[in-house]
């Protein structure tokens, strides 16, 4: 798996070729608690970096999901409709949310692992 980059709003992105896989971080899922519902876009949606592309809902709260990158959504993790708990169990693996075909590269505004860890007070992993 390619190197992960992070947003301040607790999404991660990992790029292979022209396609970026996007999810929420382990810190985010631990703060949200049991995820009960996800509202994800359909393939084909154009997003800009920082755009809200969906909603994640847990027993505690509902939050917008923000895209770390610009491009076109080409694949959505349909398994989450029936099994939202995958986000809690495996946020960096089976709990991925969408794949985005990049229109450009990955912007400079994203955090690396060390910077994200610092943001979350060392509780990233």
């Amino acid at each position: 798996m390619a190197e992960r980059r992070y947003t301040e709003s607790h999404e991660w992105v990992s790029v292979e070729g022209k396609v970026a896989t996007v999810g929420v971080t382990d810190f985010a899922q631990s703060q949200l608690g049991d995820v009960v519902f996800l509202e994800l876009p359909r393939a084909g949606l154009q997003v800009q970096a920082g755009d809200a592309f969906g909603v994640i809902e847990s027993v505690k709260a509902a939050s917008d999901l923000y895209s770390p990158v610009a491009g076109k959504v080409v694949e959505v993790n349909d398994r989450l409709t029936q099994q939202p708990e995958l986000v809690n169990k495996d946020p960096y693996g089976e709990g991925w949310l969408v794949k985005v075909e990049l229109s450009n590269g990955v912007g400079d505004g994203l955090l690396d692992e060390a910077a994200y860890k610092k943001l979350t007070g060392g509780r990233a992993e």
Partner: protein, 485 residues
């Protein structure tokens, strides 16, 4: 112990009441209802005797928890005691038996009451006019934002963004989105108040309004509100007041004087009309002069001592509610205002703030307080100090249920981890506040000594811990008879 559903208790052998024949000619349903719409089977209504029905509902009512039973520390959603005087006034035949289609001349007394209430609310919050139609707070928000939208459109300005703080009530972004605005979030600073630099960076010619609650949902007064108002007005945007927390300020200071242009109130919070399941609500919305022409119609006007509804308002955003709004709530609110008087309302706010600060001070050391006091009418603590023992805000809330209290708001606002939000209101005695404090202290103690016991609570209520996750992931919304047909 739970109570079975009336459907589960139903037995074929139990006859319901037998009514005598009406002695009127019947109509065959097939003659008047299209065939496709006719039911093939009779509805499965429960069959119970009158005493069984009476006991069923009385048992359910006894399981219910309400402010008439005990303390209700729910933060950010003022749950005030509803004085019985309000009910006496609302059930006066002259109010209770009015028909909404009665001609204007025959309801002058009711219109006068609405006029007096509008004047009183305008004076309390410092605005020029008020619309009493909205049926709840979020409805008031939407109505206020629609007027702001109409104001900008009227000036030929295209403003598509509404700014809300990260500590805002969830209804603020929801109302803005429903109105077609893009929601932009402004951050709170370390002190828990709107960050002025961040606000400045978010304001632009696209900004239609900033929505603010003051005191905010952390129970803190936005001390820089005049600077906030100047910044918002300097880009031509409007400042919107969410009235959810007005209970801290009545008769002390006024949103209109702080620079707010639109103000909504919750009569079911601040002005003691029933709340939640006991509603309906009422969310009047007030505006300053320059927005007055956009008020929903009809407005209420007085001409030579005669009250009349004015529909001739070409720039109005239109009606937002049928008839007169929830009129019964208007009667209760005015009754409360007149019974309290100006002094009484200020005293209520002072006592609400005093109660909150007393509780906050007593709980220091037991819970964490991420923001410095003093607070206004409510405060937000954090149960983060208990997480090492595996205890969370939700366990504290369940422990309070076990000890006979309602649970405070937890996990809101979102910017405080393990948030526990408490609003005692002005009507609670010191003895009640002390009993609540003792319950919290006992729970915090139990978290240290026997966390597993706490995690098993409540044990003395009709139901224990409910599986909230399963309920949200696989909701069962309809009862079906067990494999009958």
């Amino acid at each position: 112990m739970t109570e079975p559903l009336s459907f589960e208790k139903s037995r074929e052998s139990l006859p319901g009441p037998r009514l005598p024949a009406a002695g009127l000619p019947g109509v065959d349903p097939a003659q008047v209802i299209p065939r496709a719409r006719l039911r093939r089977n009779r509805p499965h209504l429960p069959r119970l005797s009158e005493p069984e029905v009476m006991r069923h509902f009385t048992r359910l009512a006894a399981m219910n928890y309400s402010i008439s039973k005990n303390f209700y520390p729910l933060g950010s959603c003022t749950m005030k005691y509803n004085p019985v005087t309000n009910e006496v006034a609302a059930s006066l035949p002259g109010f209770a038996y009015l028909h909404p289609y009665q001609p204007e001349e025959t309801v002058q007394g009711a219109l006068e009451l609405m006029w007096d209430l509008e004047r009183a609310l305008c004076e309390i919050v410092g605005v020029d006019r008020m619309c009493l139609q909205p049926a709840a707070g979020a409805h008031g928000e939407w109505t206020g934002l629609r007027m702001i939208q109409a104001f900008h459109e009227d000036r030929g300005e295209d403003r598509s963004e509404v700014i809300v703080p990260d500590s805002a009530h969830g209804t603020n972004p929801a109302s803005a989105a429903l109105c077609g605005f893009k929601v932009v979030e402004v951050r709170s600073d370390a002190g828990g108040r709107v960050s002025l630099p961040d606000l400045e960076s978010k304001l632009s010619p696209r900004t239609a309004a900033l929505m603010l609650t003051n005191p905010n949902t952390l129970g803190l007064f936005e001390k820089e509100i005049l600077e906030v108002a100047d910044l918002v007005h300097s880009v031509g945007a409007k400042l919107y007041y969410d009235g959810a927390n007005l209970n801290a300020l009545m008769g002390i200071c006024r949103p209109g004087d702080m620079g707010f242009d639109v103000v909504h109130l919750n009569l079911h919070k601040t002005f003691t009309t029933p709340h939640g399941g006991g509603g309906p609500g009422a969310g009047p919305v007030g505006v300053m002069k320059d927005l007055e022409q956009f008020l929903p119609r009809p407005t209420l006007e007085r001409e030579n001592g005669h009250f009349k509804l004015d529909f001739e308002r070409p720039r109005s955003i239109g009606r937002v509610r049928s008839f007169y709004g929830n009129f019964g709530m208007l009667v209760r609110a005015l009754t409360y205002i007149l019974a309290m008087g100006a002094d009484g309302l200020s005293q209520a706010s002072e006592d609400a703030v005093l109660s909150a600060n007393y509780l906050r001070t007593r709980l220091e050391g037991a819970l964490e307080f991420p923001h410095d006091g003093p607070c206004k009418h409510e405060f937000v603590a954090s149960a983060r100090n208990l997480t090492a023992q595996g205890i969370h805000a939700t366990d504290l809330a369940k422990g309070l249920l076990e000890r006979g209290f309602y649970a405070p708001t937890i996990y809101f606002p979102l910017i405080v981890p393990e948030a526990v939000m408490v609003e005692p209101t002005e009507t609670e005695s010191k003895a009640t506040l002390d009993a609540f404090t003792e319950a919290v202290l006992e729970i915090v103690q139990l978290a240290q000594t026997d966390p597993e016991r706490l995690q098993a609570e409540p044990t003395s209520l009709p139901v224990g811990r409910l599986d909230e996750v399963a309920a949200a992931r696989h909701p069962v919304l309809r009862w079906r008879p067990p494999a009958q047909d």
